[in-house]
């Protein structure tokens, strides 16, 4: 009889607390988890040989400049919310839709690229031009096989860092509606 009893009494681990903790962990990870969306990127290298070039480039004729400016025609709207005007050099590119304007720009810069082997692109984005517009123009330059693109209108590092001359003015301009 005694022998039988010993066999019946199995040593059992109480799994409940462990399962509780495990579930807590599982719920924590499920709740805190955010899947990182796969993003895209545009790779670029800043000029390393001359840094910020304050002087005008001597070989100006190699450049085709696309100028972006915010229209200031709608009072009560902030600068970034206004629509963007596009220029190639000083001539405005007009179209009913953005797609039409982009097509015209692409045609022009592509023909410039085919004419000149060492053609370079220049993007002159004015104050308050949204980032999307500049990326779209970068896209166009890429499609037209431009390898070198310059941004116009960079201020000096001191101005950027000190903020008083440049950044505060920019912030005020961007935040207050156009009168």
């Amino acid at each position: 009889m005694a022998k039988k009893k010993k066999i019946d009494e199995k040593v059992e681990l109480n799994m409940t607390p462990m399962i509780d903790v495990t579930f807590q962990l599982l719920i924590f990870f499920i709740v805190t988890m955010k899947f990182r969306l796969l993003e895209k990127k545009l790779l670029s290298h800043l000029p390393t040989d001359f840094g910020l070039n304050n002087s005008t480039d001597p070989v100006e004729e190699n450049f085709v400049t696309v100028k972006l400016r915010q229209r200031r025609d709608k009072p009560g709207m902030r600068l970034a919310e206004q629509s963007t005007e596009y220029f190639i050099e000083t001539r405005e590119v007009e179209g009913r839709t953005k797609q039409e304007i982009y097509k015209k720009i692409l045609t022009e810069i592509s023909s410039f690229r085919t004419q000149l082997k060492d053609a370079r692109g220049k993007i002159d984005a004015g104050r308050g031009v949204p980032h999307q517009e500049v990326v779209s123009v970068l896209d166009l330059f890429h499609k037209a096989n431009f390898e070198s693109i310059t941004f116009v209108g960079l201020t000096t590092t001191k101005n950027v860092v000190d903020g008083e001359m440049w950044f505060n003015k920019l912030r005020t301009e961007l935040r207050s509606p156009v009168q």
Binding site: M15, T22, K40, L46, I105, H131, F151, T157, R175
Partner: protein, 180 residues
Amino acid sequence: MAKKKIREHIVPDSDVELDMTPMIDIVFQMILFFIIITDFSQKEIALLKLPWSTVGIDDEGEDATRLVINVTAPIPTGASLLQWSERKREQSDKIMIKGKYVGFRELYEILQGAGVQNPRFREPDNEKLSSRSVLVRCDSAQAFDYVKGVLQVCASPEIAIYKIEIATAEKEHDDAAGDN
């Protein structure tokens, strides 16, 4: 014979029990999966609407030393502003690096320590340049002037970070740039 006897004895005595082992196995597998998959670098990434681009390449994020600079969305005006929480308002129009909201001066100071002045991050063939790359994630509605400012700071000789990546999203709309 003895073994047979024991079995006979156990079967009638035992209650109906659920075998927990497979469930615990699966739960542990799931926990391991979440631990491995959870990307703790997420806090470096602000929630933004990135500009779309048709020529962007996949960002695998393979460079562990890469710095991520976020420029958050502008504060909206009018009716949509009312829907914005105080916290959201505080976080807009800002530059965020390593989970911290900074101005251009602080960004400059952070990058000074992270750029070419740090001997760990110098280009082997050019001591004057930093080998680090910077991913600029700017909201599509934000003014490009911020990106210009960031590029300007990166290009300064004390920092000399020249490898710049501009984060974009995949094409969303049909009115994409120059699509024929």
